[in-house]
Symmetry: C2
Subunit: 155 residues, 2 copies
């Protein structure tokens, strides 16, 4: 298992491959984001998107699928997340795009109130097949501490 102690601040990981299909874009948008530019070719052509694009929340969900696959490959002892900062949808994601992920751990600290838990911040970037960034965000991840009795460093 990968614990809090095993997460190296500063390291960048590249992983994931997510093929965006038109069927999935339409399915997600019809349930959760039924705006014309996500659902209707003609309506999308009239906007600055130019054609049907994925809901930004769908891009987040596809990103999460890549992150979870990576966590599971690393057997990371994840405990969920309290939230996300600075989420930006930088370019539209279109059916046919293929997405991938890069993450860099920015900082980490033990929880004082729950010594069995650590928290780490990661800069997450998602790119399309042309290496254009389509999404950026800073995630806050909770993870198990291997040795909860170890003293918590100041700082």
């Amino acid at each position: 298992m990968q614990y809090f102690e095993d997460i190296p601040v500063g390291r960048t990981n590249s992983f994931g491959r997510y093929e965006v299909t038109r069927e999935e874009v339409l399915d997600f948008a019809s349930k959760y984001d039924p705006q014309g530019f996500h659902l209707d070719d003609e309506a999308a052509a009239k906007t600055h998107f130019g054609r049907i694009s994925a809901s930004g929340w769908h891009t987040c969900a596809m990103t999460m699928a890549m992150l979870v696959e990576n966590m599971q490959n690393n057997r990371q002892a994840g405990l969920g997340s309290p939230g996300i900062d600075n989420l930006r949808w930088m370019k539209p994601v279109f059916p046919g795009d293929v997405l991938r992920c890069e993450t860099t751990v920015i900082e980490k600290r033990r929880s004082r109130s729950r010594p069995e838990m650590g928290i780490f911040k990661s800069q997450i970037r998602v790119f399309n097949q042309n290496d254009e960034p389509v999404l950026e965000m800073v995630s806050n991840g909770l993870v198990q501490v291997r040795d909860p009795d170890a003293p918590i460093a100041d700082g």
Copy 2:
């Protein structure tokens, strides 16, 4: 249509009703967030969540469904969103919960580079049936300007 000029800074709107079903929680999590505590009763019972809870990204998606319904009821001339700040999942969302939304417009400004477009920030809060906040975030919304030739105020 509701344009940039019609969006009053400071006003709070309450709207939406979203019944969270176990089937939908499992469906979303199996596609996008297949962690044990979202999918498996036994695994969830061993975590601080206590039982199966919705993926945080699913809560975002359900929130978006309420936001879009409200935009469409108001015939708001929305043009998408560049991003989200300070997204926090404050409490788990469980199957059987019923969610609702409150939004307050914090500020708005015209785009200088695209005078036909305005941007407004909203504090979004989602509550469960016990009026407990489950999600908070600040959205940045793009919206059409009714009169793009009107001068852009300083500040």
